[in-house]
Structure formats: C-alpha cells, structure tokens
Amino acid sequence: MNSAWLLITTLAIAVTRLPADDRESRFESTIRPLLAKHCIGCHGPDKQKVGLRLDDKAGWAKGGDSGPAILPGKPAESLLVKAVRREASVSAMPPNRSLSPAEVRDLEAWVAAGAFDPREGSERLGGMSLGEAKSWWAFQPLAKSSPPGPGHPIDAFLQTRLAKAGMAYQKPAAKQDILRRLSYDLTGLPPTPPEMDSFLSDDSPQGYEKVVDRLLSTPAYGERWGRHWLDLARYADTAGENSDFPISNAWRYRNWVIDAFNRDMPYDKFIRAQIAGDLLAPNAADIERDGLVVATGFLAVARRFGHNIASDMHLTREDVIDTVGRTFLGLSLGCARCHDHKYDPITTRDYYALYGIFESTRFPFPGCEANRQPRDMVPLPGDPARVAETLKADARIAAIESEKAKIQAGLPRLDFSGARPVASGSIKDGGSARLDVPSPVRMVKGDMLLLAISPLANQGADFTRVELKLSDSAHASKAWDLRTEAIDSLAKGNPVASSHGGAWHFLDLQKQPRLLNSRTDGAYGNENLMAWRSEGETPAAMVNTSPDPVQVFAKLPGRSFFAHPGASWPVGIGFLCPADGNFTIDGSLVDAHPGGPDGVGFNLSVVPAGFSAALARHVEAASTLSKLESEKSGLLSRKRPSEFAYAVAELKPVDAAVQVRGEPEKKGPIVPRGMPALLGGTTVSATNASGRLELANWLASASNPLAARVIANRIWLHHFGSGIVATPSDFGSRGLKPTHPELLDWLARDFVENGCKIKRLHKLIVTSKAYRQSAGPPDDRDPDNQLVSRFARRRLSAEEIRDSLLVAAGKLDSDPGASHPFPPEDSWRFTQHNPFAAEYDTNKRAIYQMTTRNRRHPFFALFDGADPNATTPVRQATTVPTQALYFMNDPLVHDAAMALASRVEAEPTTGAQLSLLFRIALQRPPTDPELAAIRLLVPSASARLDTRSLASAARVVLSGNSFLTVD
C-alpha cells in the first residue's frame, strides 16, 4: 500500500469518531450528491444496470450480479470503490468519465468509516416500499360501499359524481339506437328487421328487459364475449415458433370459452378450470370432465419460440406467467423475469416461485422444424378406457426411453477416426454424382468402407438414391451390391449380412455414432417402403422393394435404395470388409426428391479396423434396441384423431432456480413454488403436485380482491368503451387509478356475493340509465367521458364488420365452427424458410376463423384484430386508408352488396327497395337527405332499380359511417 492509502486509513479513523450527526451531514453534503450525480441514473429507480441500486442502503448492501457493492470499513475490497478507482479487475465506473480525485477520496473515506447511510428503513418489495404496497388501492379488500342514493345502484354512483360536476346524463337514446347498441354489445350482430319491429312496437315496461334476456340467451352471446376472453388468452391456431406449426386441437379451447360464457359459468369456476381443470376433472361430473381438461388450453396455447421450442421453453413460461398475471390479476408479473419489478411490488423471487409451478407442468408439444412430431396432447377423459390406454402407453414409452438410454449409455464408443479419404463431393438439388474411385482401394479384414452423406444446409436435406458396388480385384466373383442386398435383406435387420462374409451397416453418424435402430415398415404410408431410422424421421436408410416406382413425397424408382441424413448430421452406409484385398469400387448418388432447396455432400472413406469389438457390442444390442424402438413407434403412431385436447398435464414437481438477469443458463438460488408475496405469498404445500391447483384456488378465492375487480372492470369496459380503471390489465402503479373506486368495489363485491355470474353483471349494467343514454355531444367538463356523461360511440370491431357484411348479404352461417382443415399431420414439413401459412375462410362467424401467429390474417391485421402473440385487453380502433380500400375494392364487400341488392330487388318501388336495403344494413329506414344522396347515384327515371343500381347503393350504405359505428 502506498502512502495515499495510509492517508485514507488515518482519515477513516478520524471520520469514524465523528458523532452521528456529523456523519449524517457529511453523507448529505458529499456522498448523497456524489451518488446522485454519477451513479443513480443507471443504478436507481429508473434503471438498475447489472441489478444494482445505489439509491438506498439495502441496494448497495445486496448489490448487483457480482454481489454487495460496498463492504463497510473495507474500501479496498468494495466493488464500488474499485470501480471508481478504475481498477483493472472490475468495470470502470462511471463508464464514460472518471470521478475527480477528490470525489474518489470522499467515497473511499466514507466506506472506510463504515459507509454510514441514513437511507434505510424502507423495506422494499420489488418496486414499492412495503408500506406503499400495503396501502396500494388495488390490493385492499373490496370495500363495503353502498350506493349513495336510491334507484339503480350504478346510476346512484355515477349521477352523484356527475351532479358534483354540475352535469347530468344525456337524454335516453332512441329506441332503434338502443336495440342496435344492445345487440352489438351482447352478441356482436345487428338486430334483424323483425326483431327491430317487435321491439319498437313493444311499449310495455318490461320490453327492454325481455330483449336483454333474449340476447343473453342466444348462442351469439358467447361468440361475442368469448372473443373478448380469447383476446386476453392470446388465442391462436398456430404455435408461433419459427415455422408456425398448426395446432389441430386448439379450437376445442376456443369453443369451450364460448360455451362457458353461454352457460354463464361462475367466474371463479372459469378461472379454476383454465389453470387447473385437468386436476379438477377426476372429481367432476362425467359431463364436465372433457371441458375441464380442454379449459387448460388457456395455458397450453402460450406462444412457442425459436427453432427448437424445447430449448426456449423459459420464454413460453414467461408468456404464461405474464398472461396469467395480466388477465386475472391486472399485474405485469412477467416484468420480474430479469429483475425485481421496477414499479410494482413483485420480485424476481415471486416470478420464479410461479415459474416452478409451470416448470412442473407439461405443455403440449405442437411440433417444430427441429422435431416435427406433435406429442403430449391430453386425451379427453370422457372415454375412460381410452384414457387408461393412453396413460399406460405413456408410462410404457417412458420406460422404453429409460431402458434404451441405459443400453446406449453402456455401449462403447464407435471410434471412426483415422479414416482414409477415398472420394468426396456434393450434389445440388436435382443433381447426381458418380463415386469417382479410379483405382482399387486396399482394405484388410475388419476395415469399414464408410459412405457418409450429410446435409449441405442446416435445414435438413432430401432422400438420395444410392448405388454402391464393390468387387475384389483378385477374385472377380467376389462382389457386393448395396442395392440388391439391401432390397432383399433390409427387412431382416441392421446390419444386413452380405455375401462372402461382408455386412452392410446403416449408421446414425452423430457425435456418438450408432446403428439405425428404429424399423419402419410401410414408410410414408406405402407398403413397399421399408426403412431403418433413428429417433425421429431421419436419418434413415430406406428401400423401395417394389419393381415399380411409388409416388409418395416424390416419385421413387422401383427396387432402389435411399439414404437420408439427419437434420444437421450425416447418415452412414458402412461395408464391413470380410477379407484382405484390393477392392474396385463403383457407385452413384442421385437426388431422389428434386425441388427441395438443398443438396447433400458425401464422403467415402476407409475406416481402419479397431472399432470391431465396439461394433460387435452395438450389433449385439441392436436387436433389443430395435424391438424397443418399434414398440415405441407403435405406441406413438396410434392414430391420434380429434379426441385429444391441446392442454396441460402434471410433471414431476420441481422448484425453479432464479435465472439471473433472465438468462436460463445463469442459475441463482432455488425458490420454492408459491404465490406472489404481495397477497399472502403462500408456498405450495403439495410435494407431489405442480401447485397449479393451489394457484387456481388462490386466484379464484373470494379473498383475492384483484380477480373480482379486474373482471368487473373488463365487463364494464366492453359496455362503456373504457374501464373504471382505464388500464384494464394493469392495476399496478403504472396503471391508472379507478375513476369511481366505490362503484368498482361495489360492483366487484356484488358480483362475488351473487355467485360470480357474468350474465347478471351484464344485465345490471345494461339496465342502468348510464348505459341507455344517447351518445350526445362532448362536454368540456368531461372530455374523456370519465364521468360517463354520455354513451361512447364506437367503431365496429373486425369481427363485427365481417359478420355484419355477411348478415347484410344474408349469408352468415350461424352454426358453430369446429376444427380447421389443416393438412394431415404426417405431411407437415414446415420450416422457417417455408413456414405454415393458410387462410381457411368460411361464412361462419369470424371467431371461428383460423388464426395464425406469424403471418396475420390480412383482414384482422387491417381492422385491429387481437394480437395473437400477446394478451390484448383493449383493441385499437385505427383509421387508415387501406381500410377504405377494403370497403372500396374487396370482393367480400362487393359480393355482400350484390347479395343485399338481390334481397331487396323484389320490392315494388324504388322507395321500398331502398327502405328495405337500409333496414337490413342499418336497422332503420333511410332519411330523406340520405335518399336524396343515393338517388343522385342511380337512374332517376325508373320506377324500380335493377340489381346493378341497388348494388351500387348497397356499397355506399355498407361503406358508410352509419354502418361502421354504434351509437
């Protein structure tokens, strides 16, 4: 240590003796300003680089990724001091400019003196102090408020508030407006002309209520409100990984949601089913079991990521945690993946407590480029025999896997190193090559002539037709032909015993080479194709035993041998040499599947004997392995038709380790599975279960004030256009506070006390005067309509636009949709280069359209449909010229206009024609100015309009703002 160090030490001793007041004033005059000036910007409330905060004592004591930043009394060992001294062992701080020498000395002295820091006492929970968190409005129990006046409780709350502002509701909306509004809000469809007539002619006091009850009991209600829920559930029919694999059974969850709304399933039950329905099913009534399993589709449809989704499951779990948090609790739990939440009382520990629950949950595997075979779907429990069979099969598959792993682990390494190259080259797509071996090759007994065929690209490769012949130069009669011998004997086993003591081996040349041990008869659905494979579809060696070509993915010539490399590694054909000699070698490679993007490379070499003992062990084990493998593929290839759900199941429970800064390979401490600390934070007690059931019960419990407030606010939002809390999925500190907290609590409490019935809540809301007032002009005293001083006019949603066009055309097919016409599973070859993409448009309601993740359906992208990749609490309502182009030129609009024209053409006069046209499209007759405008467009002389003119009128009406908006 140099003299400067001594000086500091001396100084430090002196400082230590200062009384507390002095220490405090020194901290305030030097250290606090220094930290504020240089450090807090990156290590404070706004940013926490490397996880470090220096804005309170607990922050530096806990430190960042590298541990505590300050060791009181030990400046030389304190990272903070080392950093400002710009010592080589640490990152120099601040990064772009040095502290002045005086500032460095101040800091050293302060640390040496014990780092007195008065900024303590505020224990934190994530982004809030414990005190703040305890008093945050959204975490309080539901208040027992009562309406501040007589009459409809909602009006009592709202009108009291409006009166204080000197305002009142608008006049009640016109009857035809209110029925149109109510029909769209409750069913997403306009009223029919007879429904409108009947409502207009019913002057009874119960007339309105009767209509409400009727609309709530139509199946269209569930199709409208189920869609709101599917927005939150980021529902889609594809997985969202790089190749966007289709999910054949996602639709069951979609239909379950629609059905749950139509049946008015209590919301607490609705929550439990979606988080842990599979665990509730065994004790449920027979009729409910299938639905309970399907309901966990809420978790299962989480987005998948990357090329091989298994390696990015931490992102899928984040999607689940974030969606669960935002949807049910209005909390952004996902923000705590990499660091404690910046603003809300949620810690990284909370995140990984939940993470453990979902790491203990098996998610279905939709397939992906790296592994195309979907698996882990859940059988519907409605058929106990099938379930038992599936469970038995699953258990057997697991047993086979471990048996195989044991055998393979015991096998010696096949050492093919030291091979002498003989020939190599490559063929392009559609190409061919001859094995160019000009002179005989010397081999001794036990050598192996190895032909390795590798993919040139990392996106797999095609089947290659291979010919390979050897003959002993000294004995012309001793000859071997891969093709004929494989065709005759491949079915007998691998290796294929050859003439004159030789043997053909078909090898998976991974890092640990091994024999292909999965036998497939009737590959690609053709009885003439026989293959040996490895774990998956490839690598493979295959023969067409038929004398004729067979047409599968390509036309394969008769009596031929084919080889297919693995996804990124070679397949091998090895000839084990029976005797010493010089061998003449001839052969060729031909692309057997032209049109794929890639070719293959090949490498012919002689592997010197030395692996023989190891190979013998492999051969010995081969028959056992192949038996196990064929048993497994038999179990796997049982047809899996529609009686499976895309749903979750339990796994062996594990507690998760914190992933430091969200990086899965950087493991931190293990966190017991449990609920977030802010609302009690109970730990999962079951040791033999994931904890999903406990999570479901905790979310749905009557004592969780968030769930009830959040759903009551969502129902309100979709009736009034904005929520009492305007940020419906964020009830934390970055969200907006409720405009009417007492009303929200009253609604939530009333909801819970009356059995969490959503239809009851709708009825309560739509029977209020607030809902029934007219849209009215804006008022400067309430510019954003926070006081509900008028009805908020709205644009139709994407689904409503499309369904209404079909209604106007008289073409809407109101039967529920089911599955989508995806291509058969065994034909799926999707890659990131050629991902799955399709549109299966039908005339069913829009909710039944197939939804892709990576290439959005253009219509729903254009009209602000829900984001299928993230939970969507509120749709946008943009206005862009490309939407106008849609109305001007899209075939659907033109077809609808033409169909509407034919529906009204038979009316006796132009007036009657146009009147019916308006009544169908807009549920009201035209006004005189409107008629005048339309008449300018059409020939004035004729008594009746022809289809062409009517279609022209229909296009104008269907493009108009009256059609597109709800008053």
Binding site: N834, A884, M888, L937
Partner: protein, 467 residues
C-alpha cells in the same frame, strides 16, 4: 413533393363537386375538407435537427458473408485450413462439426474509390459507391437463427413481437404524402418471421408497414373493382351520406377521419400505380439500376421504385432481397452468393448513385444490412459453404448525416469476432434513429404499463459514423 398526374383532378375534385350540391349545409363543408390530421400521420419535426428525413432500408435476407464481401481478411487466406477451437452457437454439439477449420475468402478484394476502402468483387457496383458510405465492419447480433435475427434486426426484439423500426420512424415523424402509406415494404416474398417484420405491434395501426409485392396487385385492394367514374360517383354519394350522418354528430373526429380516409384511398388508387409506374423513367436511369439485365430486373425495379417513393414523401421504405427461401443462406455453396449478387448489386449501387445525382441523398438515409454474417470457418476447409455467424458481420449506411467514405470498427484477423468499436443491432438502431433526429432513449411508447423503446434498455449511438 407532388407529382402531377392526369387523374388527379377528377380524384381530388370529387368531394368538392359533391359539396357544390345542395345536400350539404355550408358549415359542413369546411369540416369535410379540413386537412387537420387526427390519424397520427401528419408530419412532425424530429427531436433535434437532422439532415435525414427519409430512410431506405435495404435488407438482404439469409446472412451475407462479411469475409467474402466487405471485410477483407488476408490472414484468413494465409491460415486457410488451420484448425480453430470455438464454442460457436451453430456448431456446438453438431455432429460432424467437432473440428473447425478456417476457410479462405472466395472473392478478391480491391481498394475502391478515393477512400480506398477494400471491397470484394462480389459487389462491384456497391463498391463503386463506397465513397458515399460509412461501412461498419464490427456489426454483431444476439441470435444465430434466421427468424430471431431477422426479427431482432427489424424490431430490436429477438423473440417477442414488437414494433418495426419503420413503424417507430413513422410514429415519430409522420409522413408528407397522405396519398401514400408512410411505411412501405417492397417485398415480393415473405421474409423470415413473416409480417412481424413490418408490424406496428402496439403502436397505432397507421404505422404498420404496407407490403408491396410488385406487379398489378401490388397492394391489397388497390385496384379499383369498378370503372373509375362509377367509383367516383359512389364515393361522392358516400361522402354525402357520411356528412349527413356527421351533421348530428359534429363531435366525433373519428367520423371525419374515416370520411377523409376514403379520399386518401381514392388518391392512393392512382398515386400508388403512378409511383410504381417506371415507364416515365429514362432508359439511362433504368440501366443504372440494371433493369435492362434480366437477372437484376426484379430487384432493380424495386430499387427504382424505392427512389420514386422517397421522392413522393414516403417516410420509410424497406427493400427485401429476397425472402425466407432462395436467399443468401449459402450453406451449400458460397458460389450461390454470385448468383444473388448478380441480382442485387447493381440495383443497390445504382440506387445510391441515382439518389446522389438527384440530390436526394442529402435528405435520405440509405441503410444496407443483413441479419448476420457467415462463418469464416467450417467443419472442413473445403466445405464449399459457410454457416450462420452472429458474432460479426458488415452493414453500411449512406447519405444524409452519414460520414462518407469511412470504415467503422473491425473484426479480428480472421473475421470471427467484432473486436473494435463493436456495433450491436441495438447500437445500429440507436444510430439510425439519431440520424433521423431522434433520441432512441426518448422515443418511447407506453404500453401495458411500461415505456417501450426500439432499443429496449440498450443501444449506444456510433457517433464516429456521423458527419
């Protein structure tokens, strides 16, 4: 900048002629014709003054090999065949890739222009414009997979969908031509990650990229399904019934905006084809882009269209060569880069030259990039291809606000890692936004309780490339 076109008069006139009728109360006229913008696309000034007003973002899909094109590595030729030991994401645990060998460049490098920057013979036309460019040889990115790296290069996010850089720029600056979208993507083929590449995500939908596939139906529903006179009449009637509807609802700005959007759409029906119509360009201009050569005709036409779009005030134009297949992903044989360069080199070189001679380069930023580079090594030195390489690649910037004729950053002697002044994708984005007069830390959007940025929590402006 407005360009006269023959149909313009009748198109512009339709609202006016309708207003001339007796249908409308006079007070509504101004309402209907009001040019006030409420859809978020009116032009806005940048945060601080900047020369660049528009962007042409050229994206070569699949991974262009830096060591064969922009980053000369004599040591790589010298050490050809030498084994290297690397823990590389593309070869880790991959059978047959236990050993890695350096592989020499397949193209010859030469000093180019006054700057003397060395570029290979792969891109002679781009090389001829290098004095206009700041070449960044120290690019690197976070993922070695096409999908993720492509998403990252466009949105700053390597897994989740987020707004595209074009959407961010449109959101920040709006557009000067309401007859054309503010963010256009000229892409005949779908790229990796699909429409997420140009999605506005949580930003208002007006800022999503409009994909132009080229040809007659270049934008969905652009082509009038009716004779133009008939459509004009119907739109007049529509304007009339909308103004009747609006007369009792004077408050709803959305209703006006929607009425106006039909006028814009009608304008687009002619403005888009006009902008796409290359017939008025001289043969000399066309041949500058290589349009006279069959192999570069397609991309040449797109590049020329890009120039015409920025001339007409489009804020952000992206060009994609080519798509998610048949692209620069030359695992099989690097010679495939020759074929692709023949399609794309002259169009890009011609674009820069054309922008420069017309003075457009003074206000247009040209960005050229790819999602990652290619490995300077392979499992055999004689393996004809190269694999994905995210540790280093090259990109360049040209035009407004860019320091011309410089090289920024460097890789190690074999081109394996960016070692000097490394520029991550986030830094690249920060630099592009800076050139547009935008602060990447201040350009934020509140969504789901958080302020989001293009650069997430990262990004440092590469100040040395600024003029």
């Amino acid at each position: 900048m407005r360009h006269p076109n023959p149909e313009d008069r009748s198109r512009r006139g339709f609202v006016g002629s309708c207003l001339g009728g007796s249908l409308l109360a006079s007070g509504l006229a101004s309402e209907l014709l009001a040019a006030t913008d409420r859809d978020g696309l009116s032009p806005r000034s940048s945060r601080f003054p900047a020369k660049a007003k528009k962007v042409i973002f050229v994206f070569f899909s699949g991974g262009v090999s830096h060591v064969d094109a922009f980053d000369p590595k004599p040591a790589l030729s010298r050490d050809h065949g030498k084994q290297v030991t690397l823990d590389h994401p593309e070869t880790r645990g991959r059978g047959g890739y236990e050993k890695l060998f350096l592989k020499r460049p397949g193209w010859e490098f030469k000093p180019r222009g006054r700057s003397g920057i060395e570029i290979s013979d792969m891109f002679p036309h781009i090389a001829s414009q290098i004095d206009q460019c700041a070449l960044i040889r120290s690019m690197h990115t976070s993922h070695s997979n096409h999908f993720n790296a492509t998403l990252g290069m466009h949105t700053g996010s390597f897994a989740f969908s987020r707004p595209s850089i074009g959407s961010w720029v449109s959101f920040a600056l709006g557009t000067n031509n309401s007859d054309l979208p503010s963010f256009l993507v000229l892409a005949p083929n779908m790229p990796y990650a699909g429409t997420q590449v140009w999605a506005s995500d949580f930003l208002p939908g007006a800022h999503q990229g409009t994909r132009v596939v080229g040809g007659a139906d270049s934008v969905a529903n652009l082509k009038a399904r009716l004779p133009i006179e008939q459509q004009r009449k119907e739109l007049e009637a529509l304007a009339a019934i909308n103004s009747i509807h609006g007369s009792t609802r004077p408050d709803a700005s959305f209703l006006d905006a929607r009425s106006r959007s039909f006028r814009t759409a009608f304008g687009m029906e002619s403005a888009m084809p006009e902008a796409m119509n290359l017939a008025t360009e001289t043969e000399e201009t066309k041949s500058l882009y290589g349009i006279n050569r069959p192999e570069c005709r397609t991309f040449g036409e797109l590049c020329l269209t890009a120039r015409r779009m920025v001339e007409r005030g489009v804020r952000f134009v992206e060009l994609i060569h080519t798509g998610s297949s048949g692209n620069w992903d030359s695992h099989g044989n690097m010679a495939d880069h020759t074929r692709l360069a023949a399609q794309s080199d002259q169009p890009v070189g011609g674009l820069i030259a054309d922008l420069a001679r017309r003075g457009l380069l003074d206000e247009t930023l040209v960005v050229w990039t790819t999602e990652f580079g290619r490995t300077p090594f392979n499992n055999r030195a004689d393996n004809p291809g190269r694999e994905h390489h995210n540790w280093a690649f090259s990109s360049f910037l040209a035009g407004a606000g860019v320091k011309p004729g410089i090289v920024h950053g460097a890789t190690d002697e074999h081109g394996i890692r960016a070692v000097e002044k490394a520029v991550h994708v986030h830094d690249f984005h920060a630099t592009i936004l800076h050139l547009m007069g935008l602060d990447h830390e201040k350009l934020t959007y509140r969504h789901a309780g958080r302020d989001y940025r293009l650069t997430d929590v990262h990004g440092t402006v590469a100040r040395e490339v600024l003029a």
